[in-house]
């Protein structure tokens, strides 16, 4: 009986060793980033290239920008890689982040059902399009999760002079979830939604959704990267984190970003300014 128990425990430990690969000797950094970059598939392309070059693995926590910054604020990540410029600058301003760099951009688009119940009829104007949606009381699905995309969406509503939370009774739906879930919801209820192009191109459950508005200069979507302040959180892997940031803004990292394509279409456009120390 005793020997059986011993064998059982030994077997268990072996199983654990297999299930939890020894990560101790492996160099890695933890990066808090966004669902839009994860769901676009960029990270599966970008991080293996970085690991090959540097030997440093990147562990990504993909959540909304607001939550990613929060994780950085609590010291639970080494690097934050998000897309909400005002919030990023505030993060640095309050002493939680250092070494911030702009990395790349893509753009937001307005997607909606192909029968276009708000009669937007294409075009570039995002503000006019939102006004038409509000006028027609057509379903609009919002992230409402404090993500970069959500913050951008709220700025567009503000420019349109509409407070969707007050005026949107019955047609403005907030899902409080990631980009992909929000698109799933829009597809299911024939609603409009603001989405980043990367997630859209990689999204497979489109049903009747198509791009309604694109190309407005307001729809510009800038991504930035920064190190969590090591003087606030001494455990932050400063050196590895800085190596990662340097690589992202280096010609090689920038080229790797530019090389990521789906069906021949480029998803992110590198625009780092290089070293600014």
């Amino acid at each position: 009986m005793m020997r059986l128990a011993q064998r059982f425990v030994a077997g268990w430990l072996l199983a654990l060793a297999i299930a939890f690969p020894a990560a101790a000797q492996e160099q890695f950094i933890t990066v808090a980033s966004t669902t839009s970059t994860e769901e676009s598939g960029l990270f599966d392309h970008l991080f293996p290239a970085f690991a090959k070059k540097s030997g440093i693995r990147v562990r990504v926590i993909a959540i909304g920008t607001g939550q990613a910054l929060k994780i950085g604020e609590r010291g639970d990540a080494d690097v934050v890689f998000v897309h909400d410029r005002p919030a990023e600058l505030a993060f640095v301003e309050r002493g939680y982040g250092v070494d911030r760099h702009e990395v790349m951009y893509n753009d937001f688009i307005l997607v909606g059902p192909s029968r276009d119940p708000a009669h937007i009829g294409g075009g570039k104007g995002i503000v006019a399009a939102l006004q038409k949606i509000a006028e027609a009381k057509a379903p609009f699905v919002s992230r409402s999760d404090d993500s970069g995309t959500n913050k951008a969406e709220l700025r567009f509503w503000q420019e349109a002079g509409i407070d969707p939370k007050a005026a949107g009774q019955g047609w403005y739906r907030d899902t409080g979830s990631g980009m992909g879930s929000t698109l799933n919801t829009s597809a299911a209820m024939d609603g409009y939604a603001i989405c980043d192009r990367g997630t859209w191109l990689n999204f497979k459950n489109r049903q009747n959704l198509k791009i309604v508005v694109e190309g407005d200069r307001r729809l510009f979507n800038q991504y930035g990267v920064m190190l969590v302040n090591p003087s606030k959180y001494p455990h932050v892997k400063q050196e590895l984190g800085r190596t990662f940031i340097r690589w992202l803004i280096s010609p090689e990292g920038q080229q790797t970003i530019a090389d990521y394509k789906i069906n021949g279409e480029q998803l992110f456009f590198p625009n780092a300014e290089g070293e600014r120390s």
């Binding site: 268990w12 199983a15 654990l16 297999i18 299930a19 939890f20 990560a23 933890t30 669902t35 994860e38 769901e39 598939g41 599966d44 562990r59 990504v60 926590i61 993909a62 604020e73 609590r74 010291g75 639970d76 990631g178 980009m179 992909g180 879930s181 698109l183 799933n184 597809a187 990689n202 999204f203 497979k204 459950n205 489109r206 959180y233 455990h235």
Partner: protein
């Protein structure tokens, strides 16, 4: 309606291809959940039995409390464990957040009340039946508890299996404390969440079918072991 056949095909392709990422995800899922159930059993079985046997003030409140904790939402358990393990939290120095260990802790928190509550019920019934014999023999409480647990072992298998079901199926807690990091903390359920987010519903459902099949296999194995042991015991 999404094509179920598509999902079945996706599940079949995944299994047949022997995809190494899939194998990693499956072993991690089972490793985390079974470890959590093991820990929860070590804690929950004696605790539940003690609750059944001992008489102390506040016992009824404790029983109600444990029963209620069976309904603890995984996301709440995850959030609590997250706040403890966060660098800014009391156990931040351990650096456990976003590791499999954090997921084990969160699932142990979820599963222990289930094991304890069912154990309490099983052992209480046995205690009602045989209690007088033990008292007559003057056996000490720890030995009574051990003896009753052994006596009820076939029924207690259900308690443990209920724990396995809860642990393997939940996503709310491990998503928060694990972070769904590819190759490190990505499990079956968090992978399904991610693929749903990518709109790849076929693949998501395919993974779901594999998960359900695994749960079925675990239960079938437990059932066979239980039946064989029962026959051997009688």
């Amino acid at each position: 309606l999404y094509d179920i056949a598509d999902a079945l095909a996706a599940a079949g392709r995944l299994v047949l291809s022997g995809d190494s990422a899939l194998i990693g995800i499956v072993t991690l899922s089972l490793g985390v959940s079974l470890t959590a159930v093991l820990l929860a059993s070590v804690l929950g079985l004696p605790f539940g039995a003690a609750l059944a046997v001992l008489r102390f003030p506040g016992r009824h409140a404790a029983v109600v409390g444990v029963n209620a904790l069976m309904g603890l939402p995984p996301v709440v358990a995850g959030l609590i464990v997250y706040l403890f393990l966060s660098r800014a939290g009391p156990l931040g120095g351990l650096g456990l957040l976003f590791t499999p260990a954090a997921m084990v802790i969160a699932q142990t928190v979820l599963v222990t009340p289930i094991v304890a509550a069912i154990t309490r019920q099983v052992v209480e019934d046995l205690w009602r039946e045989y209690g007088e014999l033990y008292i007559f023999d003057g056996v000490g409480t720890p030995r009574i508890i051990a003896s009753l647990l052994w006596l009820g072992r076939f029924s207690l298998l259900t308690a443990v299996l209920a724990g396995v079901g809860r642990a393997v199926a939940e996503v709310g807690a491990i998503l928060i404390v694990g972070g769904n990091i590819a190759g490190v903390t990505r499990t079956m359920t968090t992978a399904i969440t991610l693929e749903t987010g990518r709109g790849d519903l076929g693949l998501a459902l395919g993974l779901g079918i594999i998960l359900v099949t695994l749960i079925l296999l675990i239960n079938a194995t437990a059932h066979v072991i239980g039946a064989v042991a029962k026959r051997a015991a009688t």
